[in-house]
């Protein structure tokens, strides 16, 4: 039967979806600002981080209030717990996007070290992983969430390749060191965003099935 407090959970769910959409937008804009050397866009990404911070606090407050007053059990309890964890991951995604935007501002002042190909490709993969993890939240599609967890390795591989490539740049031409280090950190940030997407995917499997798949190698390797 419907209860008068059902609307509170709907608000909670829609806040989490809004937070996911906002985090995805931040990552896309940060990488776009880097590739296009768009300082204005980078500044907007940095300023918009507050939106994610505020949503994280709102979601936490809603979750604590709901647990406190409504005594949720079973699926409702998992939803509230998972929502708090996922919102924490999304807030960290926002922090990484802000970090990328800050580095994009510094890099925009210098000529590009190399054409940006791998970083946008890697960022697209991370954004797609976030998108699929959110889809799992909306539709309960755990197969999609499992696929997200497996794709994390691909992002790790590109990150390692970039690391080697940028290291050789620095060895050969010390004048590239400061730019190469910025790019290494950006690569690491994108790799972290994919890790957060993986966490969210794992949380969504827990939400849908009540099964904890963290640190389970058989899940990661398929």
């Amino acid at each position: 039967m419907k209860r008068f407090f059902d609307a509170e959970l709907e608000t909670f769910r829609s806040d989490l979806v809004l937070m996911g959409e906002t985090a995805i937008r931040q990552v896309r804009d940060a990488v776009k600002a880097l590739v296009e050397a768009d300082v204005g866009l980078a500044d907007r990404v940095i300023a918009a981080d507050d939106e994610l911070d505020n949503l994280e606090i709102k979601i936490d407050n809603e979750a604590i209030r709901y647990m406190n007053l409504r005594a949720p059990i079973a699926t409702e309890l998992r939803l509230v717990i998972v929502g708090m964890k996922a919102s924490h991951d999304l807030e960290r995604v926002g922090d990484e996007a802000t970090g990328i935007a800050k580095r994009a501002v510094r890099l925009a002042a210098e000529p590009p070290l190399k054409p940006y190909v791998d970083l946008p490709r890697m960022a697209n993969m991370a954004v797609e992983m976030l998108r699929d993890a959110l889809d799992c939240f909306l539709k309960g599609d755990t197969d999609k969430a499992l696929a997200v967890i497996r794709r994390d390795k691909e992002v790790d591989t590109i990150n390692k390749q970039l690391y080697r490539e940028l290291t050789s740049f620095m060895i050969e031409r010390p004048g590239t060191i400061s730019r190469a280090i910025e790019l290494m950190f950006i690569s690491k940030s994108i790799e972290r965003i994919a890790d957060h997407a993986t966490n969210i995917a794992e949380e969504m499997i827990y939400l849908a099935k009540g099964k904890d798949v963290r640190h389970d190698d058989s899940v990661k390797n398929g």
Partner: protein
């Protein structure tokens, strides 16, 4: 625990507690004001100088272990304790700004303004229809059109109409426990009271009937000022806007419900709401 070990509690009032957390329900004006109210059964002092304001059109829950005085206080609000021998009180209770102990006030008229629902449903041995209109008949109001309207409005208000509209003239004893309790709520609101007092209205009901009555409380507060006594902590958390915790006849803590259950100021309140004593 003896009274001597109780921390001296300054009696919280609405004004003291309205700086509650963000997201607390907006504070409605006080409809019932309890002012330094003490109550005695013979020589036994059972309520000790209680002061609290109960806001209109909100739900206020009284919680506390058995014998803490919450039902006694509830029954004082419509002067039902007048029927007990050897009682006396100090202090005052105001409803909508007027003392209920004003010598000019008619107790019967007061009780008409205050509906009451008890722990056990107590339908009269009459039809569903006659149960609802009983108070109107007593008052000499017998017009069929008016009574029909009151029955429909009250039963709809108590979320019972759809279940009984085809058997209004059958005995009320044929209803289920949950339906009987909702019939008693319909009877309590038939005469359009201003206040609804509920003394553990769900303690004899199953979870589904309880959920229905809780939904009903949530609806009824749009129209009435509601005071509910309950032993069910989760129910107090779900249905009330403000919660008062009583212990040994004293008001220990009174605040918006979210604060009482999330961050109570008093250690005894916390121990009670988390099931560690009482």
């Amino acid at each position: 625990m003896s009274t001597a070990t109780l921390p001296s509690t300054s009696r919280p009032t609405m004004t003291q507690t309205t700086t509650a957390s963000a997201g607390a329900p907006a504070l409605n004006p006080a409809y019932i004001q309890i002012k330094d109210f003490s109550f005695y059964y013979g020589a036994a002092k059972v309520l000790h100088g209680l002061s609290l304001d109960i806001p209109e059109q909100q739900v206020t829950a009284f919680i506390g272990p058995s014998g803490c005085g919450k039902s006694t206080l509830l029954r004082n609000l419509n002067r039902m304790n007048d029927l007990v021998d050897g009682i006396r009180h100090e202090g005052d209770i105001l409803v909508n700004g007027h003392s209920i102990y004003d010598p000019l006030i008619e107790v019967i008229a007061l009780r008409k303004r205050i509906g009451m629902v008890f722990q056990k449903s107590n339908p009269f041995p009459k039809s569903i229809y006659e149960n609802v209109v009983y108070s109107l008949r007593v008052a000499g109001r017998n017009g069929k059109a008016e009574l029909d309207e009151v029955v429909e409005r009250s039963l709809k208000g108590a979320a019972l109409w759809d279940e009984v509209k085809d058997r209004l003239h059958e005995s009320a004893f044929g209803l289920s426990g949950g339906q009987m309790q909702r019939l008693c709520i319909a009877r309590a609101i038939a005469n359009r009271p201003e206040i609804l007092l509920m003394d553990e209205p769900c303690s004899a009901l199953d979870p589904i009937a309880t959920a229905k009555v809780e939904e009903l409380i949530h609806e009824l507060k749009k129209e009435f000022t509601i005071v509910i006594v309950t032993h069910n902590m989760q129910q107090a958390a779900r249905v009330s806007d403000r919660t008062a915790f009583f212990y040994l006849g004293k008001l220990i803590e009174y605040d918006v419900t979210t604060n009482i259950f999330q961050n109570p100021a008093n250690a005894q309140t916390e121990a009670y709401v988390s099931g560690r004593f009482g």
